[in-house]
Every structure is written in structure tokens, then in C-alpha cells.
């Protein structure tokens, strides 16, 4: 079985724990993280500063996001406890996840909200799009422990 585990920054631990609990040991697991386009936005805002020189000390925005993605995937792999392929992407999150799920048998992902917000609003627009468009089976987990 090929399983794609899509993690986001806030809830990766719950998603990886669910993957470790539910996926069979022989499953072929890929951990996917899609970088936000926040750094493109920041670069664009800088280009709005008409006539200002490029700031010599400005930190490399891409490096911040790339390093963050690498660290997150490495932590997720360590938490999963067995071998997994790592897939770091950037772009429109929902489209990247659906595209990556094309070759998977199962997609594991988390809701946006915890148990306190059961109902349609526990899925934000991005997760909703992925659930609606995923070409494979979907395992949708809660990002927090059940309360009471």
C-alpha cells in the first residue's frame, strides 16, 4: 500500500501519530509538506518600495522557509519511527496535495480544528478542497486528543 501523509506545521505530530498507529508496517509511506507562499508575498512587498535599493542585509526569505520545511519533515520522519520518503513542495497547497495523492492508495491528513469544533467548520477551505478532490481513499484524523 502506498500511503501519502500530508502534514501541516501546527498539527504534524497528531497526523504522524495516526499514520504510525493505522498504517501497516509494510506500507510505503511518503511524508508531504507544502511550503506556504509567504516568502513570495514578502518579496513582492519589497518590490513595491519604488526606487529603494535592494537592502544589503535582508535575510534570504527562501532559506527560512526551505530550512523550516526540511526540519519539519526530518522531525516527522523521526516521530514516524520507520523509513519514509520525504516530499517538500511549494505552490498552491490544495493543488499540490491532490497532485501528490495521484499515485497513492491512501491519503492521511488532519482536520484544521480540534474536537471542540466538531462540524463543517473543522475543515478549512484547503483541507475541504483536498478531501473533495483526493483521487484515493482518505483517512481524516482529529488533530487533538478526544476530550471527555
Amino acid at each position: 500500500m502506498r500511503a501519502l501523509v500530508w502534514i501541516v506545521a501546527e498539527t504534524w505530530q497528531a497526523t504522524v501519530a495516526a499514520a504510525a498507529a493505522f498504517l501497516p508496517a509494510e506500507a510505503d509511506v511518503t511524508l508531504l509538506y507544502v511550503r506556504s507562499d509567504a516568502e513570495t508575498l514578502a518579496r513582492g512587498a519589497r518590490s513595491a518600495l519604488l526606487g529603494r535599493s535592494r537592502h544589503p542585509v535582508a535575510e534570504a526569505l527562501d532559506a527560512i522557509s526551505e530550512q523550516g520545511a526540511r526540519n519539519l519533515l526530518a522531525d516527522a520522519q523521526a516521530a514516524l519511527g520507520h523509513q519514509a520518503a520525504l516530499d517538500a513542495r511549494s505552490g498552491r497547497t490544495e493543488q499540490e496535495v491532490v497532485a501528490a495523492a495521484d499515485t497513492a492508495d491512501l491519503l492521511v491528513l488532519a482536520r484544521d480544528q480540534g474536537h471542540a469544533h466538531r462540524g463543517p467548520r473543522s475543515l478549512g477551505p484547503t483541507v475541504r478542497y483536498v478531501v473533495d478532490h483526493a483521487p484515493c481513499a482518505v483517512l481524516l484524523i482529529w488533530p487533538d486528543a478526544p476530550s471527555g
Binding site: 506545521a9 498539527t11 505530530q13 514578502a42 518590490s47 513595491a48 519604488l50 535599493s53 498552491r92 475543515l123
Partner: protein, 417 residues
């Protein structure tokens, strides 16, 4: 020279300057195009030497003011202010994305108000991105907030945006008078951003985050904070005693720069670079070009489009027209074009124009449609930005913020602030 020809030449010079500033060809600095076009307009007689000299002389104190502010911001960076703010936000967020966003709002607004739009975009945005990434929180709400607030909260003080600075001396307002009239409009604009961003990013902000190690207490840069506080207090006090804010800014710049020179943490050439001499020249050149265009018919055209008077509908109209023009040609040329015409209706009309050119650029993330189109045409790196999302956010926040801020301005004028 016939006026129509002079106008056509001036507009061509303006277009060439904007094109160079947006496209930024390596071999042709935008300052060279601006100064070259200004000199050419003087040479062919589209603007007289004395009129151009008057424009430059008029702007000279503002350019000095700007240079001092750039030095002040650079000193704050050198002293570690932005790094400390990042640590402070990380520590204060206590595993809550919404609390982090609230801190980003407070910090981005404060930095913009005290140091101006540029340091927020150039120096604070990377810190915010790094802080959210480090805390394992989606950085979009925080980066969007920083970029939006750099514009929306730049209404408050004459130093908060270069557009404010460019028209402050002609506005006839004192430093505190300007701030008093712009306080409620700024709060209204920031309030609109808070409501919209919280709803827009409800999914990201509502995610239950995992526990993160609490970062160590930040090392507060005492010199930067002391100089900034003293400078801001100086602006307000100086305004009461009739001391020009240029001197206060110069004193602040000296207070943060001289110790660095003595301790050799900065060299003279670092400091010259920090004042961005080519940018100062660019602004002077741009001002002369706009004067040439205005004198030869552009001002008359603006007068036909811009509502006169300071009634609420007139102020709303001025803010809307200014916002549209800022999106067409960027905010600096827009305010240079509109300010002389708006000022004829009094300072309230000028402040409405500032609300328009300052808040308006949030419609696109690149400051103007021209910049945005250029970036998307030429730079593959921009193709993955979620443009639809940004434009939707702009379409919701900008009209609401313009209306709310202008309403507050009008109320302030009515109660006699």
C-alpha cells in the same frame, strides 16, 4: 514650448522613470533615469530652471529628514531590535497562533508608526516569517498581516510613510496636529485588518498547535529603544515648542550612529549606504518630473477628477481616487501628483489623499498593478503565489479600511481636532 508637447514629454519622463524603477535593469539605475529625465525636461524648457530649483529646494529638508530616518532604522537593526522583537513575539505567543497574530499586529504597527513602512517590509517581514516557522505555525496570516499593516498603519505620523513625509511640510499641520487627526483613521484601518484577517485565516489560526520549546527571554537592545523613545517624544514635544522635526530626527540618527562609529560596529561607508543616496536622488528627480507634468496640464486634469471641499462624500472621493492612482502608478508619484491639488481644499483633503495612497496599495501585494504585472510576466518565482487569495483579501480590506479611516478623519475634523 506648447503646453501639450511639454505635458507629453513630462509624462514620457514619468513613464520612463516608473518603468526603470519597476523593471530595475542592472545597467540602468532608476535614479539615473529620474535625474536624467528631470534634467532633460529642464533642458528642453518643459519646466523652467527656477521652477525645478524651487521644487528641489522645497524638498531638500524632506530628503534630509528621510536620510536621518533611514539611519535611525539602520541603527535599530544594528542594535538587534528586530531580532529581539522576533524573540519577544515567539515567547509571548505561548503556542497560540491567534496570540502570535495579535503580537504581529502590535509589533508591525508599532515599527511602521515609529520607523516607517520600509523597515517593516525589509527588516521585520523576514523576522516574522522566521518566527512563525520556528514556532511551527503557518506563516501566511502573520506575513500577510505584516505586509498589510506596513501600509494600513503608516497613516499615523508624518514619519510613518514617505508619502506623509513628502507632503508634511506643505500641509501646514504640526507634527502633533497631524498625529491627532490621523490617530482614529489609523486605528480604524488596523481594526478592519484584524477583523478581516482573523476571519480569512480562521482555519490556520484555529489549528491546535503542538507544544514548542519556549525561547529564552529576548535580550532587549537598550540603546535602540532609548533612542527611539526619546526621538518620538522629541517629535511630539518639539511640535509644541516649534522645533522642526527634521532636527529631532537628525539628533536621533546621531545618537544611534555615533556610538556605532566610536565602537567601530559600523563604518562610514556602511552609513552612507544606509541612507540610500540613489533613492534620495530618485525622489528629487521624480519630484521635478511631476512638477513639470503638473504645471503643464496634469494638475488641471487632476482638479477635474478630484472632488473639492471637505464634506464626507468629497473626502471619500479623494481617498478613492488617490487609492486608484496609487495602484496605477505607485504611491510616491501618486501623492506628488495629487497633493498640490488636494491641498487647495485644506489639510483634511490632503490627509484623505494620504489615506488613499497609503492604504490603497494593499489591493495588490506589489504596491501597484504595474509592478504586479511586471513581476508575474518576468519572474517565474512569482508564479506560485496565490494571487487570487491576495486579491480577494485586498478587495475586502481596502474599500472597508478606506471608508472607515476617511469617516474617522471627517469626524475628527468635525469635532475640531
Amino acid at each position: 514650448m506648447p503646453e501639450a508637447l511639454a505635458l507629453a514629454l513630462s509624462l514620457a519622463g514619468l513613464a520612463a522613470t516608473l518603468a526603470a524603477a519597476i523593471a530595475r535593469p542592472r545597467w540602468l539605475p532608476e535614479a539615473a533615469v529620474a535625474v536624467g529625465a528631470a534634467a532633460a525636461l529642464v533642458a528642453v524648457g518643459a519646466v523652467t530652471v527656477s521652477r525645478a530649483g524651487q521644487a528641489v529646494g522645497h524638498l531638500a529638508p524632506t530628503i534630509g529628514f528621510l536620510a536621518a530616518l533611514l539611519l535611525l532604522a539602520d541603527g535599530c537593526r544594528r542594535d538587534g531590535l528586530f531580532r529581539a522583537l522576533g524573540d519577544m513575539m515567539a515567547r509571548g505567543s505561548r503556542d497560540s497562533p491567534r496570540r502570535l497574530l495579535a503580537l504581529v499586529f502590535a509589533v508591525a504597527s508599532s515599527v511602521t508608526v515609529a520607523l516607517g513602512l520600509d523597515p517593516t517590509i525589509v527588516l521585520l517581514t523576514p523576522v516574522v516569517l522566521a518566527t512563525a516557522t520556528r514556532l511551527r505555525m503557518s506563516p501566511e496570516p502573520d506575513v500577510y498581516a505584516t505586509v498589510h499593516l506596513a501600509n494600513s498603519s503608516s497613516l499615523l505620523l508624518p514619519i510613518s510613510n514617505l508619502t506623509n513625509l513628502l507632503v508634511f511640510t506643505t500641509s501646514g499641520l504640526s507634527f502633533t496636529g497631524f498625529a491627532a487627526l490621523m490617530l482614529a483613521p489609523t486605528l480604524a484601518a488596523v481594526g478592519v485588518e484584524w477583523v478581516v484577517l482573523n476571519r480569512f485565516f480562521a482555519a490556520e489560526l484555529g489549528r491546535p498547535p503542538g507544544r514548542q520549546a519556549v525561547p529564552a527571554a529576548p535580550h532587549l537592545p537598550r540603546l535602540a529603544l532609548a533612542v527611539l523613545t526619546a526621538t518620538l517624544a522629541g517629535f511630539l514635544a518639539g511640535s509644541l515648542f516649534g522645533v522642526s522635526p527634521v532636527w529631532i530626527a537628525a539628533a536621533g540618527a546621531a545618537a544611534i550612529t555615533v556610538p556605532a562609529l566610536v565602537r567601530r560596529t559600523a563604518t562610514a561607508s556602511d552609513l552612507v549606504r544606509a541612507t540610500q543616496p540613489s533613492f534620495l536622488l530618485f525622489v528629487l528627480g521624480l519630484a521635478v518630473i511631476v512638477v513639470a507634468a503638473s504645471d503643464n496640464g496634469l494638475a488641471a486634469a487632476v482638479r477635474m477628477v478630484l472632488p473639492g471641499g471637505t464634506s464626507l462624500p468629497a473626502l471619500l472621493g479623494i481617498a478613492a481616487v488617490s487609492a486608484l492612482l496609487a495602484n496605477l502608478v505607485n504611491n510616491l508619484p501618486a501623492i506628488l501628483i495629487i497633493a498640490p491639488v488636494a491641498l487647495a481644499s485644506g489639510p483634511a483633503a490632503l490627509l484623505a489623499a494620504l489615506i488613499g495612497v497609503n492604504v490603497g496599495p494593499n489591493l495588490t501585494y506589489a504596491g501597484s498593478l504595474a509592478t504586479l504585472l511586471w513581476r508575474r510576466l518576468l519572474r517565474a518565482q512569482d508564479t506560485d503565489v496565490n494571487l487570487g487569495q491576495f486579491l480577494r483579501l485586498g478587495a475586502v480590506t481596502v474599500p472597508a479600511a478606506l471608508a472607515a479611516s476617511t469617516l474617522m478623519l471627517w469626524s475628527g475634523v468635525k469635532v475640531g481636532l
